[in-house]
Symmetry: C2
Subunit: 233 residues, 2 copies
Amino acid sequence: MSEGIVGSVVREMRSPMSAGTDPSGERGDVLERVRHAILDGQFMPNQRLVEADLSLQFGVSRSAIRAVLTQLTGEGLVERVANRGARVRAVSLEEAIEISEVRMAVEALCAAKAAERATDEDLAVLREIADAMRRAVADGDVLGYSELNRRLHATVRTASGQHVAESVLERLRGQNVRHQFRLALLPGRAAVSLPQHLEIIEAIRARDPRRAETAMRDHLASVIETLPQVGSS
Amino acid sequence: MSEGIVGSVVREMRSPMSAGTDPSGERGDVLERVRHAILDGQFMPNQRLVEADLSLQFGVSRSAIRAVLTQLTGEGLVERVANRGARVRAVSLEEAIEISEVRMAVEALCAAKAAERATDEDLAVLREIADAMRRAVADGDVLGYSELNRRLHATVRTASGQHVAESVLERLRGQNVRHQFRLALLPGRAAVSLPQHLEIIEAIRARDPRRAETAMRDHLASVIETLPQVGSS
DNA sequence: GGCGCCATGATTGTTGACAAACAATCCGCC
DNA sequence: GGCGGATTGTTTGTCAACAATCATGGCGCC
């Protein structure tokens, strides 16, 4: 309990557990719930994850929580040290850049394969996303655009039919959500990325693998270039 | 440890656990030991991994084994189904190809970065590997060549300084060892891959990122092309 | 003779309690 | 008043026993 000041300053109170979290509610996977709590920012980076607390909060036994923590550690979302417990892993700016570099390599592969193998339905979805993106930018809807961005990349991944690449990317995305999110909030960012996104979509719809690959590469190169502007956390 | 026949059907006997495996020996990480048992082929693909058996075999409690199994499941080496236990995951030929495709993308990145950032010591190691590879091929030392192959790729990865790529590749390699190994055993394979390996080394030693990247790409494209000849396992 | 049902055995999943490790606090002593 | 060492409290790691689940084999019934 107590135990203060980490990274920037994450208060170390044992989960206040204010109102919500009906203990009986949601028999649904605890793994999912904890993962989302981290991804949604309910659990901040460097925040301690005490097994007993989570056990109460999610209404499951400590062993269940323990298993969840080892799984999330494997996914790179949680950091665990010897006899000192687990905490939400904070990814540095340098690592965020490395992650984006790997993403660039793998998503370029996916874009090329998507251009070859996308179904007509995939292409229709892509067109919808393109239209919605244009609208979101016109309306200044930053959050909506961010969500569309996520959907675009997800659609390209699944359209590629490359399951291994898909899982690798899913993993990397999880570690990077925070940086991704802050990036999307940069003023003027959407204006830069919109044409890149549209070009990716166009290339895939034209079924041109090479063009799709370079479009994706260019887009992520731009992301990497911009990343330093969001600060290290 | 007997227990034969993999391909279609793995007999379902609880590991006979013949002689070895002193229970008191090796206080060393159980995770490592189980992982190596899988990677070294002591545990064959699709072989059941019964918790109680492993518990006895490795001289640790069942909970420890349980934790190890969830971790290895996260690494993609073990497959677990609901209330039916764990088994060594068998990767299909199709998946092996997908894995190699992703490897191609990421290792190309590493090769380029290695060409930029390799230390003089790295370059010296690479030259030694090149020489040893030539000798191994001349002597027909297939196993030695296979090990050198592993070392070459490992050296390129670490020389790249791209930690994220490194961990992704390490993961993928683990899932692919069996196919990799069978590939190395193909007659005449070394004669094909040797010049490719030498070209990778040359390109990095020349500090030419583009050349290193395409050399690595070409090499892995050749691997992917040859993979179907080893059968699906 | 085949089909379905129940008993049995083998394995996994879960729980609770205990031991070990670490951090913080408190006390006496210099 | 500050420092070293023991003590307390908190949290993780481990263990053994129990409950739940699934597969298997035998038995009766149609």
